[in-house]
Amino acid sequence: MPGTAGMLPPVSGPSFPAGPRLRLTAGQFNEIVAHCYDGLPDEACGLLGGPVDAAGVPEGTVTTVYPCRNEDASARTYTIDSRDHIKALRAAEEAGGDLIGVFHSHTHTEAYPSETDVRQAVEPNWIYVLVSLKHEAPVFRAYRIVDGTIGEVPVEISR
């Protein structure tokens, strides 16, 4: 449907737990999208580092983007390379924060979590970024996935 790219409504109801918005710079946004295009024809993926509160809940600000290898080397699935995962975690901890989310591309579907994404989501506090490369221009969306329920996270891009 032309004109509705990426505008699928989230399925979260009013009971979906409140969370932060995702805040990143234009440079970080570009880094994520570029890594997704670099990965074609496969899905690309990476991790996001940033500050967390005393309970370990992300504040929503991205401090660092960690582009990772897709262990699956697949156009349909992704697994963050385990060595890239621990490196990103240690770097994020060293910076005084933690990993706060993950991004991956959908090469031929919308920027919305797939059934597999929902089933395999293990971190209810994380922000799950989807980049769809299906259309002429990339579509960038963020979500939280809590107990099988998807809630959209507003994205704020600054200079």
């Binding site: 699956d72 349909r76 699935t77 963050i80 060595r83 995962h85 621990i86 490196k87 991956h104």
Partner: protein, 82 residues
């Protein structure tokens, strides 16, 4: 994902000469961890990453990877989707 099965702890102490033996000890202490660490056939579960001092044991000797007194073993849920 794993902490609720270990009474919420982020770091625990367990003993073993290999990662497999360490898992045996961990599961004795926290039985709820068993199905997250190993498949029914005893092999390492696909959806966890296990590291000895930040080196993935899949690239070492898997569950036979040897451990020394001071080694730190980290277990992370694999980050994956479709």
């Amino acid at each position: 994902m794993l902490r609720p099965h270990a009474n919420g702890a982020s770091t625990v102490t367990a003993a073993g000469d290999t990662v497999g033996e360490l898992f045996d000890d961990l599961v004795r202490q926290y039985p709820g961890l068993a199905s997250h660490l190993r498949n029914d056939d005893g092999t390492l579960h696909r959806f966890v990453n296990v590291y000895r001092n930040d080196d993935d044991i899949r690239y070492l000797d898997k569950l036979d990877t040897k451990l020394e007194e001071s080694d730190v073993v980290s277990i992370l849920p694999a980050v994956a989707g479709g």
